[in-house]
């Protein structure tokens, strides 16, 4: 139930992304029971390919703790991390990664590849499927609404 609690916090940030017109993905980094980093997807508003939820949360966690090694931290994200974010998790030596929905198109924790099973120096503990349905529903609804908006815009007047 403890992992679900932190995933709820990540879901709240995913909804914030959605309210800002972004693909709804949210993330928190937890150290000793405290949330030390929060992030949500801001790619479109920032027009920046690096602005994923995990990167924002890891950046804040490094700043908050004043160090780049986060072996004592746990990361909770609503969608399976992409290669960039999984690589950032490796670079920061994050101890545990928990994600919600799987990403068969772009996931780097089992979806397409699993970076944590390759011959890199670090292997975080990995838990997928935490509140998976809620995390996936948020994404499905977002893309359905997007398609409806686009098809309404395509209709002749």
């Amino acid at each position: 139930m403890e992992r679900e609690k932190y995933m709820e916090a990540a879901l709240k940030l995913a909804r914030r992304a959605q309210n800002e017109g972004e693909v709804p993905v949210g993330c928190v980094v937890v150290c000793a029971g405290e949330i030390v980093g929060r992030g949500w997807n801001r790619r479109e508003q920032k027009q920046n390919a690096l602005e994923h939820a995990e990167m924002m949360a890891l950046d804040e966690a490094c700043r908050t703790l004043g160090r780049w090694r986060l072996a004592d931290c746990r990361l909770f994200v609503t969608l399976e991390p992409c290669p960039m974010c999984a690589g950032a998790i490796l670079n920061a030596r994050v101890g545990e990664v928990c994600y919600g929905a799987s990403d068969p198109d772009y996931g780097a924790c089992g979806g397409v590849i699993n970076l944590f099973e390759e011959a890199f120096r670090h292997k975080p503990r990995l838990y997928g499927g935490i509140l998976a349905q809620q995390c996936a529903d948020l994404l499905t609804d977002f893309f359905r609404q997007l398609r409806e908006k686009e098809s309404a815009a395509d209709k002749p007047l």
Copy 2:
């Protein structure tokens, strides 16, 4: 010779990292013949695992161009990108990647794995070994000096 010219610019930034006490890696992003992003490794001074040369250069390129899609850009980096940076290159749809020295321990463009050969949506053109010797020498010298400094510090007075 044109690729060597941009790698020289990346090498200059790698020397800047070295002067700041960082592992010497430098990077430039080029669009239509102009350098639109510059980066150098700042992990230790920033105490932040995300502060790789490529991330800094890609971030600046997105800001300079005001967009996250960099398909018309080329990235030049003195060391083979790690999984995070190779993932960021995929996310930004960078058209071409040129690196200097290979990284058999942590490289994600052939060193350990090749992210650009996986089933992701994008595959940049990839050129390794540009000014490889100069790029590698910079790293070798840095680590030799570091070891000498450490062994001098270990000596009894």
